[in-house]
Amino acid sequence: MSERPVAGHPIQRLDDDVHQRVRLGVLTVLAGVARADFAHLKATLAVTDGNLGRHLEALERAGHVEITKVIDGRRPRTWVRITRQGRHALRREVEALRELIAGLDGAAEPGD
């Protein structure tokens, strides 16, 4: 028997491009700053280079972040900035998560 999500259930509003721990973390860090570099994101989120790189690529493909690579002194540096679309996606995701919790509490109306 296949399970289908209930119409209007918050889980339908979770964005596959965003709904992942590292990606949500990246967007949350970037939403509060003008820009951050790769090393800062890596240290803040405690992830490996490869892991972070893959998630940043996915977020960039989805249009949620802008990535700029520069040469700072003699070393390459990657700056990341959240886009307007990324801010909207983060807001929608957090709202969906809150609705999910409220729905499971049974205290709120579905879709509230």
Binding site: T28, V29, G32, V33, A34, A36, D37, L97, I101
Partner: protein
């Protein structure tokens, strides 16, 4: 995924995001240079009020605010090369900009209603409220305390003087408080 796992995951994710958001806000709220620069601007504005009168504050304050915003942005850009993260100037600019719109409106309202206290104290309270809300938003305890003291300074000044001297005294008082808030230890990196 079961409902319980769903719920736990969602709650843990929100908690984690909340911690990251708070850390960012503390960083953005702890722009001590901006607080000190605004303090200097308020003290200088006090002198300007005594020279040109309280109805010409915007002429000095607005361009100076832009200069502070540009200087802060340049400093943050330089700091970002070391820290790897650039704090936004926009929350400070938004607070100061909002106060810059509300303050003259309160002054005009006080004048049109013939309420000297509103005209002379209202604008400074607008600045105090704007920076106080910024302090709460940025979890900046020094700024919260400094701005909470501003109305007290205004009321004390109002008991001993009036007119341009009262407005100047308030700007000087709020300037010193902003300077002190800008000199407080940085707690933006827990």
């Amino acid at each position: 995924m079961s409902a319980v796992t769903d719920r736990l995951t969602a709650e843990l994710t929100l908690i984690e995001l909340g911690v990251l958001r708070d850390r960012n806000r503390r960083r953005a709220g702890a722009l001590r240079f901006t607080s000190r620069a605004l303090g200097v601007l308020h003290v200088a504005t006090a002198g300007w009020v005594l020279l040109a009168g309280r109805h010409r504050v915007v002429v000095v304050y607005a361009p100076a605010l832009l200069v502070i915003a540009v200087l802060t942005a340049l400093r943050q850009r330089r700091a970002a090369r070391v820290d790897g993260v650039q704090a936004p100037v926009t929350p400070w600019l938004a607070a100061a900009g909002a106060a810059l719109v509300v303050a003259p409106a309160l002054s005009l309202l006080g004048r049109s209603l013939d309420l000297p206290l509103l005209e002379e104290v209202g604008p400074t309270l607008a600045f105090a409220l704007a920076y106080h809300l910024l302090g709460w938003w940025g979890r900046n305890r020094a700024l919260i305390l400094a701005t909470a003291a501003m109305p007290v300074v205004s009321l004390l000044a109002a008991t001993v003087t009036g007119g341009d001297a009262l407005v100047a005294a308030q700007f000087a008082g709020s300037g010193v408080l902003l300077l002190l808030a800008g000199l407080a230890p940085d707690r933006s990196h827990p």
